[in-house]
């Protein structure tokens, strides 16, 4: 039986993109690959939905982009985390841990 993959909760995609970029600059395709890799291939993301997320993050000043040459010598847009983006990631990680902890506590209540 195929292993079912978890769908993403609203708002978590932005956090995952920031997390993927905290490990180094990447193009959009690479970000999708890295999210899959760091989640142990558990998180299923519709590939195209990454881009509106990336543009939103850039608009907020949390990531910045520049065109460069990819690993296969093609022109690609690379994204990297800004200082504000790193702060935002820390904040979101803390919020996420608190939320996950509270949810677990509620689920374990007898």
């Amino acid at each position: 039986m195929a292993k079912s993959k978890a769908g993403l909760l609203q708002g978590t995609l932005d956090m995952l993109i920031l997390k993927a970029l905290s490990l180094g600059a990447l193009h959009g395709y690479g970000i999708g690959q890295r999210i899959a890799q760091i989640s142990g291939d558990e998180l299923k993301i519709e590939e195209g939905s990454l881009y509106p997320g990336l543009y939103r993050l850039e608009h907020r000043g949390w990531v910045q982009s520049e065109w460069d040459t990819s690993e296969n010598n093609q022109r690609a847009k690379f994204y990297k985390l800004t200082r504000a983006g790193r702060k935002q990631l820390t904040l979101e990680e803390r919020n996420w841990e608190r939320l996950a902890g509270a949810t677990m506590k509620a689920l374990r209540a007898s």
């Binding site: 959009g28 195209g48 881009y51 543009y55 939103r56 608009h59 000043g61 910045q64």
Partner: protein, 132 residues
């Protein structure tokens, strides 16, 4: 990103809308191309690989449009500006009311016109408040 840079980017996005759209398209095409290549390496035929890449990407045109819209989005919070606009409309309606009250009573057309203007402005204000 500073407010100044955000504003410059915003103006640039509006001035060079076609250029921005081309850039977004190039970026999305690169993704589909990379996925196609990966699918070929996994053993698919080029046609199958391209089809699967397009399917896993989602609605290309819709995504491109969303990205362009985000690029053209306002770089600052519109709420205070909108609120200011509503207050200005309310003041204008109040001004019209004052003028209408002070108009000579024999000028019926003038009074009616002013009342109609007040009604329209008040409706605009109420609709704006409800939307908010």
């Amino acid at each position: 990103m500073s407010r100044v840079k955000a504003t410059v980017d915003f103006i640039h996005a509006w001035q060079h809308a076609d250029e921005i759209a081309d850039e977004v398209e190039a970026e999305l095409r690169f993704h589909v191309q990379m996925r196609t290549q990966a699918n070929i390496e996994e053993g698919m035929t080029p046609d199958e690989a391209q089809l699967a890449a397009k399917q896993s990407f989602g609605d290309f045109d819709q995504i491109k449009m969303s990205c362009c819209e985000i690029k053209r989005g306002l770089p600052f919070n519109m709420k205070p500006i909108r609120m200011g606009l509503y207050i200005a409309i309310a003041c204008l309606a109040g001004g019209f009311a004052l003028v209408a009250v002070n108009l000579p009573h024999h000028n019926l057309f003038g009074v009616l016109w002013q009342l109609a203007a007040i009604a329209v402005l008040m409706c605009a204000f109420l609709v704006g408040r409800r939307k908010q």
